[in-house]
């Protein structure tokens, strides 16, 4: 472990860019793409209603389904991630082993294969409905990734904090819940926001389980109307607007957190 000070931040580079207001290059790029995408989404159906307007009327329940899967998955993934993250720093070596093995296994299997596995392979033993299977697979998969964020976040809190808490007479678990975790939350929030956006994008994979999400609705429309270019343009625009919207939301949250830290 490298020397860690209070300003340690976890850098995640493979997610979407987080358009913070003080990073003018990314922020203006974000504005161009976001408003560009929104105007395209509005202008295309107005200028050529056939087929763009039909597509726009066909997919909304797919957007809702995509949201449903994403939000449910992230809630369970956060829970799993926190538990496993704590397990990864546990002093009990057996818990530690189990959690580490879980992370190793899940991160080594492609999400698409996990989806197939839970829906079609495990159907041999239990009957899981499509959305439930999708949420389980996404939560189990992202739980592993998020647990690593929690672990790194917890380990980024200086050791002195724990020592001081123990010296004040707190038990180890009290120290974790009252001292360490509240500080961890601030550190891990940006990367978790990133994971949420990544999950939103990956939720398009669940269309493979015949879940009628945004992508499948688009495919259904395209496969009978043959407007492939138009349909996938609209689907891509909607996904783009969603991820850009949420990346800005994460940036705003991050900005709030920063002022919060400065004040304290």
């Amino acid at each position: 472990m490298a020397k860690i000070n209070n300003k340690t931040k976890i850098e995640v580079t493979d997610g979407v860019l987080i358009p913070a207001r003080d990073d003018s290059a990314i922020f203006s790029a974000w504005r161009i793409s976001f408003y560009g995408a929104i105007s395209a989404l509005i202008l295309l159906p107005v200028l050529s209603p056939e087929p763009y307007k039909d597509i726009l009327l066909f997919v909304p329940d797919g957007v809702l389904r995509t949201f449903e899967v994403t939000v449910l998955s992230i809630i369970f993934a956060l829970f799993i991630g926190l538990m496993v993250g704590l397990g990864r720093i546990s002093r009990f070596s057996i818990i530690n082993k189990i959690c580490t093995v879980y992370v190793e296994i899940i991160r080594g299997i492609p999400l698409l294969v996990q989806l197939f596995y839970i829906y079609y392979a495990l159907a041999k033993f239990v009957k899981i409905m499509d959305i439930t299977a999708a949420v389980i697979a996404m939560a189990v998969c992202y739980g592993a990734y998020i647990s690593e964020i929690f672990r790194a976040g917890i380990q980024s809190i200086p050791k002195g904090q724990m020592e001081a808490a123990l010296a004040l007479g707190m038990t180890r678990s009290q120290a974790i819940y009252k001292i360490i975790l509240p500080q961890t939350i601030k550190v891990v929030l940006p990367p978790i926001g990133n994971e949420f956006i990544a999950l939103l994008k990956d939720s398009s994979l669940v269309s493979i389980l015949a879940v009628s999400d945004l992508l499948r609705r688009g495919r259904e429309y395209a496969s009978t109307s043959f407007f492939y270019f138009e349909t996938y343009t609209m689907v891509a625009l909607i996904y783009l607007i969603l991820t850009l919207f949420f990346s800005r939301l994460v940036a705003i949250m991050e900005e709030r957190m920063k002022t919060n830290v400065d004040q304290s």
């Binding site: 079609y120 499509d130 015949a210 395209a222």
Partner: protein, 251 residues
């Protein structure tokens, strides 16, 4: 540095081979490339030797032999098979394509070569559900973009679930996650009557409720390939080869 250059060269050569591979052989030299979604037994499927076989395959090969051209089959996912045809990735689609008016707007069809109808497949224990309208409020599966899916979508009260492959819909039916599957009757028969895994679990109900004809689709205006295919099919019908193949694959 040198190694890097060599690597770069190798990559560019490799990618050149890949890209040039897609563009050659566009109906010249009487080789036509034909897309088929080989997940539709017994019409077209991949057998245990990883070869594409089936009624459509035999029929088009017979037509090619009679018509004096060669066919090269490409296994292509159904969802997007017509996009590839429009983009010129292959010359024809021979994949149990029902001739419909909607499809005729974007592609040309050969003469029809076999008639089929949509059929409902349910679990053995399901009773009294012999028409599609009985499934209102229930989940019914079909392969995405097929005439079966289009028929189900006509009734807004039925929840349509579309699958990438018909086999996945059949599996979900067997697992009880959907109430019925709608597909072409030869495929329904193959799964519900012949398939060793499903024949004890599934059955066909009612009679086929549509009358449809399969045709071979070519890109709109591609008269050269269309004429070749039609001439071959005409000779196949003349000699009665199509009836023999129906006996071999569909009875």
């Amino acid at each position: 540095m040198k190694k890097g250059i060599i690597l770069l060269l190798m990559i560019s050569v490799a990618s050149f081979c890949v890209f040039s591979g897609c563009s050659k052989e566009q109906a010249s030299g009487k080789i036509i490339s034909v897309a088929t979604d080989a997940t539709w037994p017994p019409m077209e499927y991949v057998d245990e030797n990883k070869k594409i076989v089936g009624f459509d395959i035999d029929l088009l090969n017979a037509a090619a032999k009679e018509g004096g051209f060669t066919v090269e089959f490409k296994n292509t996912a159904w969802d997007g098979i017509f996009a590839g045809l429009g983009a010129g990735k292959y010359d024809a689609v021979c994949s149990s394509v029902t001739i419909t008016d909607d499809r005729k707007k974007t592609m040309d069809f050969s003469v029809p070569y076999v008639s089929i109808g949509q059929t409902i497949v349910v679990k053995k224990e399901t009773t009294g559900m012999e028409e599609l309208s009985k499934f209102e409020g229930k989940k019914v599966g079909a392969q995405i973009g097929t005439t079966g899916a289009i028929e189900i979508a006509k009734n807004k009260n039925i929840t349509l679930k579309t699958y990438d492959e018909i086999g996945l819909a059949i599996e979900d039916l067997a697992k009880g996650r959907i109430e019925a599957v709608v597909c072409d009757n030869p495929i329904a028969a193959n799964y519900a009557l012949l398939n060793p895994k499903y024949k004890a679990l599934l059955k066909i109900v009612g009679e086929p409720f549509t009358t449809e004809e399969y045709g071979i689709a070519v890109k709109k205006g591609n008269k050269e390939v269309l004429d070749m295919v039609n001439a071959g099919l005409a000779k196949v019908k003349e000699k009665g080869i199509d009836k023999e193949l129906e006996k071999k694959w569909l009875r």
